[in-house]
């Protein structure tokens, strides 16, 4: 990718972590949701964040593209400081794609339009080129032929794959997945996970919040376990799942597996 070292990247080089969080803290009112979270994501790496509900996973992932402002700490995406009042949020979000639990497709536009809207109106790219790319993305997520369908006419799994294609159409450097299979029927979970796995294998940097332990084990290069706003334990999947050290991790895995 040639777009990795424009001036706004603050001298970021590919050997440094693509994303670096240092001591990130965030409170909603009196409730401290993130109590000092630090993690690094290298380019091309896929990491999974797992943990019980309410442990701050979704908040953590939303901080990375500045959907949620943080109280203190450092978040750097390709060297760009996210926790900066002068941050160009739109520039940041062009680099960071996001997929949500509830798909959040735009129901008044067709699947193809959903994919094309942001490149057309945000990046101001050429319509013909965007359409060709959108059709290719539809095929990539195995939805060729559904271009004219409205979100309401698609199954949950199909909608979620359109949402993935929509985020990819911006050609992001990193993709955030926020419990993207949590709202799906068990049968359709597979097709979505397959799409994500292909992305990770192609070298897309992925940060996934997930409850699919089997998937996390197969796809992730690194697992982070959060509980009550802190990262309790992290490591490569094999050691994390087979030899958890912290009692909280052991208890959590014991409940799930």
């Amino acid at each position: 990718m040639a777009a990795l070292s424009p001036p706004e990247d603050f001298g970021w080089t590919p050997d440094q972590p693509l994303i670096r969080l240092v001591d990130v803290r965030k409170s909603f009112g009196a409730i401290e949701v993130l109590k000092g979270v630090s993690l690094d994501v290298a380019k091309g790496e896929a990491i999974c964040i797992i943990g019980p509900s309410g442990s701050g996973k979704s908040t953590l992932i939303r901080c990375i593209n500045a959907l949620v402002p943080i109280d203190s700490g450092t978040i750097r995406v390709e060297g760009q400081e996210v926790n900066d009042p002068d941050l160009d949020k739109l520039a940041l979000r062009r680099k960071v794609g996001m997929v949500f639990q509830q798909y959040n497709l735009f129901p008044h536009r067709t699947a193809l339009d959903n994919i094309m809207m942001a490149p057309l109106h945000v990046l101001k790219q050429d319509r013909r080129e965007v359409e060709a790319r959108a059709r290719a993305l539809m095929a990539k997520v195995r939805l060729a032929g559904k271009e004219k369908a409205y979100p309401g006419e698609l199954s949950g799994g199909q909608q979620q794959r359109v949402a993935i294609a929509r985020a990819l159409a911006m050609r992001p450097d990193v993709m955030l997945f926020d419990e993207v299979t949590a709202a799906l029927d068990p049968e359709t979970v597979k097709e979505v996970l397959l799409t994500i796995r292909e992305l990770a294998e192609e070298g897309m940097t992925c940060i996934l919040v997930t409850h699919e332990m089997g998937f996390a084990r197969e796809v992730a290069d690194h697992i982070y376990f959060t509980d009550a706003g802190v990262i309790v334990e992290h490591g490569p999947p094999a050691s994390f799942f087979d030899d958890p050290r912290d009692p909280r991790t052991q208890a959590f895995l014991g409940q799930i597996l």
């Binding site: 979000r93 735009f106 008044h108 945000v122 929509r166 985020a167």
Partner: protein, 291 residues
């Protein structure tokens, strides 16, 4: 959308699933139809005409016209007056809708001061009696104004239109705010994460989805403002109610004509507003199903 309606299973069918376990599907709304006049309606209307007209006729001596004849004689004038009511309602609705859309967008805008001002204006005009606003407009707006040396008169009915557009504006402002607030926050988040600016999000993603939600309350509002336009008679605009009372006076102020004449005015408004009401109801049901 195009799912076939679930077939109703006969209890005799073997292996029929328990009814309570079937997913609930509200029945599809019937295609919109103009309210049908049934026999019972005809009887009612005919009865009304007979009672009113009959009473009038009984009181009328041979030399005087019956109520129906009076209405027939003055019909062009009365209809002209009714047309004026419609004109005022359409204009004040157009003016109020445009202003209300702006006010509503300010209410949910990013500028805190403008948000406060828009909220206050909305609340003020929404919670004032329409008639008070009408008087307010009639007496506060000058009867003429000068632009580039040309003096333009401002007839009363134009001032009345402005007066009626004030409550429309305030209610429209709330309709816009409510519709935007009713969209799931995920739509905003998705747009934000795709690097849409706030303005782009509003115009390309949020408002197009709101049109559908705003249409039924907007039509309801139109129906209300149409019926409210007769209040303009109080401030001397020659609309239907004013003309009705003038017709009554021209016919010698016969007390037996009061009920038929005003009854006729009522009927005109009913025949105009009732189909709108029905259509609104139909749209509401259709949109509920498609959410």
């Amino acid at each position: 959308m195009s799912a076939p309606p679930p077939r109703r299973l006969e209890p005799s069918e073997a292996g029929a699933p328990l009814a309570v376990l079937l997913p609930f599907r509200p029945p599809p709304p019937a295609a919109f139809a103009w309210p049908r006049l049934r026999l019972v309606h005809l009887v009612g209307i005919a009865g009304l005409v007979l009672v009113v007209g009959g009473a009038a006729h009984a009181q009328a001596s041979g030399a005087r016209l019956s109520a129906l004849e009076v209405i027939w004689r003055w019909l062009p004038l009365l209809m002209w007056g009714f047309g004026f009511n419609i004109l005022m309602s359409v204009l004040s609705m157009a003016l109020g809708t445009a202003a209300g859309l702006g006010l509503g967008l300010l209410q949910i805008g990013e500028n805190r001061l403008l948000r406060r001002v828009a909220w206050a204006a909305t609340q003020f005009f929404r919670n004032s009696p329409w008639l008070v606003l009408l008087f307010f407009a009639m007496f506060m707006i000058p009867f003429q104004f000068t632009v580039f040396g040309h003096t333009m008169p401002l007839p009363d009915w134009v001032k009345a239109v402005i007066g009626f557009s004030l409550p429309v504006m305030a209610n429209m402002s709330e309709i816009v705010r409510g519709a935007v607030a009713s969209l799931p926050s995920g739509q905003w988040e998705a747009a934000e994460s795709l690097a849409f600016s706030r303005r782009q999000t509003m115009w390309r993603i949020i408002l197009p989805q709101c049109v559908k939600r705003m249409l039924p309350p907007w039509m309801n509002l139109y129906s209300l403002i149409t019926m409210a336009t007769v209040q303009a008679s109080i401030v001397g605009v020659s609309e239907m109610l004013t003309l009705t009372s003038q017709v009554h006076a021209a016919e010698g102020g016969r007390p037996d004509l009061l009920a038929p004449l005003y009854g006729f005015a009522m009927l005109c408004f009913f025949l105009y507003c009732y189909p709108i009401e029905r259509f609104t109801l139909y749209l509401e049901r259709r949109f509920q199903l498609n959410q």
